[in-house]
Amino acid sequence: MKAGVARAVMALAVCCFGESRREWARAMRAEFEAAAADGRPLLFALGCLAAAWRELLTREEGRFVLTSYALALGLMLPMAALQIGCAVLGLPYLYAGQNGLRGALLDGGTQELLLRGVYQAAVPSLSVLLLLVGVGHLRIAWAMLERDWSRVTRMGSLSLAAAATLILFMAALFLDGSQALLQAMILAIELATVSVVARWHAQLFPPRAEEPAR
């Protein structure tokens, strides 16, 4: 049990080191085996984790990593959760009748007078669009943490296109699109922030001559 915790702490410490300290992280990982053989793996691993966190705070590269994670965990994941929640559970602004997606699709519901024909048929497409925007947030966050900027650009463009389509269709169906518009604006702000992070990354790690820029 204690050995397992020590290994987990050590793995976390190794992950916390930035790219320029990768070799040191490997060195500590190798030395961890000697500490484990000596019966002191947890103390050693905790020390390495403290060292990694100190590095994170004192180096620009570390601050870059912290900013990326703060953006992903503090903005992108909550937005993804909100939009996927809206699409699956149905928050009031998307479906009439306040009964969520299921209620909106039911025949004979209180909303049926409003939802006849085209609108009822459009509900699944609207929820799929919203789901796409939510999943887009998750994929942008993932690609940003992997520093795959071309994928970030691709996913960002797709998410923006899905958000714009959603707003246009809601407007065409005379639905209140103000909440969707607000979320699209948050997506745009999010993408602008990601582009600042990408520029920061390019300054910190300029691409080598033989290495094509990603």
């Binding site: 060195a27 500590m28 030395e31 390495c48």
Partner: protein, 100 residues
């Protein structure tokens, strides 16, 4: 004017331990045991001393098969000179020294 900084107590302890066997490559865990420094103190020190050219590091093949290669350290000429200077009551870090 260039600001000179005195090495911390932990760095002095490490310099003393490494200068005692200057030519010998030392592993991190062995240095921890000898100096009493914890990994959270020793490794940041080693990293910065390597950045400043006071310590050199290289990978050594494992003594036992199946074990990972280990990183080993020893003082450079500049590191040894600093250790000698400290032992004689003088010795300042390079101007970019950032030790607590």
């Amino acid at each position: 004017m260039v600001r000179k900084r005195q090495p911390s107590t932990q760095m002095r302890v490490l310099l003393e331990a490494m200068s005692a066997q200057r030519q010998q490559w030392r592993h991190g865990y062995d240095l921890m045991k000898e100096t009493g420094l914890l990994s959270g103190t020793l490794y940041p020190l080693l990293m910065r001393m390597t950045d400043q050219g006071l310590v050199e590091a290289e990978w050594h093949e494992p003594a036992q098969p199946g074990r990972p290669a280990r990183h080993a350290y020893r003082l450079t000429a500049a590191g040894f000179a600093l250790a000698l200077g400290l032992a004689q009551g003088r010795g300042d870090l390079p101007s970019d020294g950032a030790f607590a």
